[in-house]
């Protein structure tokens, strides 16, 4: 895929399960390169208030794993769709059945924020045989040796958690985030998420060396307010901003 990439997270089933496939199609047209489709969980421990609220709305609207895969399959877009969700939801369905359902509904990768590589053996085996990527996360406080291990285990891309804490919009990109991106070993695409809510922030992480910017809570927030046009506008502006930022990355020195 042509870099830099814009990865857009939405919570499946928010505001309703019926709305999800169309939302995915429109996001793809607006410039999203990958859709991260969240499966709502009752206990989303890595998420801040925005995504927690979205998960609660979606569950109340009837979203469950069966409906999730139907919605994913119905959202027939040319860009990759990636699953994001908690391990218990996968465990409850059975690992093999879950990855099979991913593959048959066009989901090409999985992000499981509460599954460290040490615990991931069985899911790795299942996802490999189904041809689905298992994408691991690294955080700014991940020590270097561990970071190398995670990088070696991840497939598809590496998800860099931009800062300490949970998901949610923030007003600044810290120097710590820049340093973090810089110390991630090369050899795998690096996507940066957590706290990116504006085109300016997305551009900053791309300039700092990231291959992809992930935006989540800002989109979920607009969906919660019913501002779908504004959401598409945000995605267009983000795509533009990161494309511009990529050009700054290797400036031609006269």
């Amino acid at each position: 895929m042509k870099k830099p990439l814009l990865i857009v997270y939405i919570c499946a089933g928010d505001p309703t399960p019926e709305a999800t496939p169309d939302l995915v199609r429109r996001l793809a047209r607006a410039g999203a390169d990958i859709i991260e489709l969240g499966l709502p969980h009752s206990d989303p421990v890595a998420d801040g208030p925005t995504i927690q609220a979205a998960a609660q709305r979606a569950i109340a609207a009837g979203m469950n794993t069966d409906i999730y895969f139907k919605a994913a399959a119905e959202a027939d877009v040319d860009i990759p769709k990636v699953f994001m969700g908690y391990y218990n939801m996968i465990y409850a369905r059975g690992l093999e059945r879950f990855v099979r359902d991913c593959a048959s509904s066009g989901i090409t990768g999985m992000i499981v924020p509460d599954l460290p590589p040490e615990e991931a053996g069985p899911l790795q085996e299942a996802s490999r045989s189904a041809g689905v990527d298992l994408i691991f996360l690294a955080a700014p406080n991940t020590p270097q040796e561990r970071l190398e291990m995670i990088r070696a285990q991840t497939s598809g891309f590496l998800y860099l958690v931009a800062r300490a804490g949970v998901t949610g919009a923030r007003s600044d990109i810290l120097q710590g985030t820049r340093d973090f991106i810089a110390r991630v070993p090369q050899g795998v695409p690096r996507a940066v998420g957590f706290g990116i809510s504006t085109p300016k922030q997305a551009a900053e992480v791309i300039r700092a060396g990231a291959d992809a910017a992930i935006v989540g809570s800002a989109c979920v927030d607009l969906i919660a307010r019913g501002e779908i046009e504004q959401l598409m506008q945000l995605v267009r502006e983000m795509k533009e901003a990161i494309t511009e930022a990529e050009k700054d990355k290797n400036p031609i020195v006269c």
Partner: protein
């Protein structure tokens, strides 16, 4: 040098346990594990803890031969009196131990979750006594149910933070404490209240609570010259049960884990009618461990139910899940009514008002005396003063 990766088998009891936490929490959890591993064999640490357990917590607690209850049931019943620990419950055994770990790690702030408020109170106590800032996460629903404990925590300088997410009870308070920790681990220690959570918490909490069983073993030998035929303890997360069971695991003693039967075995769409994860749950991952949990077929965690807030939890410690599967621990249930019977009868027979949680073990014993054998110990994990309002309201319904 702290190892940065680990073998998952070292964090488990059979297939249960592990560390299912977001990567941001992995370094802080591993730091706690490393500190505990280093300190648990340190004589200096042990001496500090033993000193506080004796002079501050009031240990050892008595093993009391309950004459009237024994006569009524036609067998010898002993009560391990954890209700006499400072603060009114066994919880202080664990908070003292972990606070000393936190101190030696150089942390200045403690966070904790609480349901009934007993663990929050025990954390507030060590915060005041050992000099930590303390913030306690407590579900909005529980704050309303346990006003007195909220006030006790505040008196001792702790801040109680209302949790409004999810079901607004204990499980959401734990989620919120993890979210706090993910942003504050530099100076903050998460003082987990039960023998659950990611490794090393289940093992560490068990170890700190094992003082209950070690004392009981010595005391029963002294009193009766032999070990009991059975031990009964209530189980929410399982810290008082693991505490009294652990030193008896290799002995020929029947270990009975009494869970909250609540209103019965059923469930509605989002809520179980009980808190019995061993008896009614299935395998799943909650709060950092693979264990037995109450969940729907898709893996959404159910809200649990029990009249006793301290047993109102949809999970259980992984070691208890393992011991139950092996057949070493026998899971049983006592419903609200059985617990209330235990609450009333122990009060009137012995002049001891047990916590509603402990009353589950007492009520089960009253209902099934033959299962206890000739001689039994019941763990009275806490005192019932905190529950008077709850019981009065229940009886007025």
């Amino acid at each position: 040098m702290i190892s940065q990766t680990y073998d998952a088998d070292d964090t488990k009891f059979g297939r249960y346990g592990g560390r299912f936490v977001p990567e941001i929490l992995m370094p802080p959890v591993m730091e706690v594990a490393e500190a505990y591993e280093r300190l648990r064999t340190s004589q200096d640490f042990r001496a500090d803890l033993d000193g506080l357990l004796k002079s501050f917590a009031g240990r050892p607690t008595p093993l009391y031969h309950a004459r009237n209850l024994s006569r009524k049931l036609g067998r010898q019943i002993y009560l391990k009196r954890e209700d006499l620990v400072h603060g009114g419950a066994h919880k202080l055994n664990n908070t003292l131990g972990q606070a000393l770990v936190a101190k030696r790690m150089g942390k200045t702030r403690l966070i904790a979750e609480t349901g009934a408020g007993q663990h929050g109170v025990a954390t507030a106590i060590v915060g005041a006594n050992l000099g930590f800032d303390v913030q306690v996460y407590m579900g909005e629903v529980d704050i309303k149910r346990q006003k007195m404990n909220v006030y006790r925590m505040e008196l001792m300088g702790a801040e109680v933070i209302p949790v409004r997410s999810g079901s607004r009870t204990l499980k959401d308070a734990i989620n919120e404490a993890f979210r706090d920790w993910a942003a504050t681990f530099d100076h903050t220690y998460y003082l987990f209240g039960t023998a659950a959570g990611p490794h090393p918490y289940p093992a560490m909490v068990r170890d700190f609570q094992s003082v209950i069983g070690r004392e009981a073993k010595e005391q029963i030998r002294e009193a009766d010259g032999q070990l009991p035929e059975s031990i009964a303890a209530c189980v929410g997360g399982g810290s008082n049960a693991m505490g009294i069971f652990a030193p008896f695991l290799k002995d020929d003693v029947r270990l009975i884990a009494v869970e909250a039967g609540g209103r019965g075995r059923g469930r509605t769409e989002r809520t179980a009618d009980n808190g019995a994860s061993l008896g009614c749950g299935t395998d799943g991952v909650l709060h950092g461990a693979l264990t037995r949990i109450l969940q729907d077929p898709f893996g959404q965690i159910l809200e649990s139910y029990s009249l006793a807030a301290g047993l109102d939890y949809p999970g259980v410690g992984p070691e208890l899940a393992y011991l139950t599967e092996k057949g070493r621990v026998i899971p049983r249930m006592a419903d609200d009514k059985t617990a209330l019977r235990g609450f009333r009868e122990l009060s009137s027979l012995e002049g001891i008002i047990p916590a509603l949680e402990s009353a589950h073990a007492v009520g089960y014993a009253l209902q099934n005396p033959e299962e206890l054998g000739e001689m039994a110990i019941i763990n009275i994990s806490g005192r019932g003063d905190k529950d008077l309002q709850t019981v009065m309201e229940y009886e007025n319904l």
